[in-house]
């Protein structure tokens, strides 16, 4: 496989969730979420109940992938920041460490300048945590829970 397995443990999850929640407050945003580059949702905070975060996660990842493809054609390493402005809602998308994507959805209650400033700070913290997380996942002794499953377990999933 070309990339290491992404694994999320309780300790790191709480740290990440803390940063995301803090970012919602500090930037006065509606929703903040973090996804991996494949579109899997890692953490979310704010007014998420009204939002289809799974779909948003997959579309954001597609967006980042497409932008990354354009960057490559222009011999750029990556475009790390994107901003989409709407009539009522705006989206700020930031690539962190080429690994995860930090998405902030906000309205007129705050400003792009403030969001950018707070995102920058949050990125520094997130970068450290994800580096630790990747190192931890590569250590021996953190076996996948799937090592113990049997063929029968897998078959049972499809008995409907």
């Amino acid at each position: 496989m070309s990339e290491p397995q992404m694994v999320m443990y309780e300790e790191e999850f709480h740290k990440i969730q803390g940063i995301v929640e803090q970012l919602v407050k500090a930037s006065n945003a509606k929703v903040v979420f973090i996804i991996d580059k494949n579109g899997q949702l890692i953490a979310a905070a704010g007014d998420t109940e009204q939002m289809d975060t799974t779909s948003l996660a997959s579309l954001t990842a597609g967006n980042i992938a497409a932008t990354g493809g354009m960057a490559k054609l222009l011999r750029e390493n990556e475009f790390t920041t994107q901003f989409h402005e709407g009539e009522n809602a705006n989206i700020h998308i930031q690539l962190v460490d080429k690994r995860v994507i930090l998405v902030v959805i906000f309205d007129s209650k705050t400003s792009l300048g403030l969001v950018r400033l707070r995102v920058k700070k949050a990125c520094e913290h997130l970068s450290t945590i994800f580096q630790e997380l990747m190192a931890k996942a590569l250590q021996p002794g953190h076996d996948s829970p799937f090592g113990e499953i049997t063929d029968e377990d897998i078959d049972n999933l499809f008995n409907d």
Partner: protein, 197 residues
């Protein structure tokens, strides 16, 4: 690249439907969407042109059930089949855990199938994967059409690796779930192998 979340006890995997233009990749997802309990699936997203040809991808999140207390979630994606969308196809293959190759059984599409299979192989290599090591299955779609190639012939041409293969008519659902179950099983078996290494 699957994603294991120990906190929410979830495992997420990505399956990509690949194949030549108009072979029925989107039709597979539409059928699955229509026949799955709404609680077990999310919204289906299609980024398509005005003429309903896939432009970037279709996306369907699906929950299959629990294994040993872990919820298994599959994210199904299709690629745009038309030859000139190759840059988009490469992007969608990133982080793939399993592939379904949907072949068009019609005689007139034999060459298109082979071209798409070659394209899949080379795009996977570019992403650092090899089709020989990746869970994948083949579906011979459009078995209801009048001038189709015999399955044996299609098998020789595009299933040299002898992976599980299925005859299908995606628009009425024939073979759709058999194909999905087979690839999901292979993906989970691969996770099991990786976990016990």
């Amino acid at each position: 690249m699957s994603f294991i979340n120990y906190l929410s006890r979830e495992i997420n995997c990505k399956i990509v439907y690949y194949g030549p233009g108009l072979c029925g990749k989107t039709a597979n997802l539409q059928y699955i969407y229509g026949k799955t309990n709404p609680q077990a699936r999310g919204k289906m997203i299609s980024l398509a042109t005005e003429t309903e040809r896939t432009l970037f991808f279709d996306f369907l999140p699906l929950a299959l059930g629990e294994i040993r207390g872990f919820k298994t979630r599959f994210h199904l994606y299709t690629v745009p089949g038309q030859v000139f969308y190759d840059a988009s196809r490469k992007l969608i293959l990133k982080g793939v855990d399993g592939v379904v190759f949907v072949a068009d059984s019609q005689l007139a599409r034999i060459e298109a199938n082979m071209e798409s299979m070659d394209n899949l192989r080379s795009n996977l290599i570019e992403q650092g994967y090899s089709l020989d090591n990746l869970p994948y299955v083949v579906q011979y779609n459009k078995r209801d059409m009048p001038s189709i190639a015999p399955v044996e012939e299609l098998r020789t041409m595009i299933n040299g690796g002898n992976v599980p293969d299925f005859e299908a008519v995606a628009i009425n659902g024939t073979g759709v779930f058999d194909t999905l179950k087979a690839v999901a099983k292979l993906v989970l078996t691969e996770l099991k192998k990786a976990g016990s290494r």
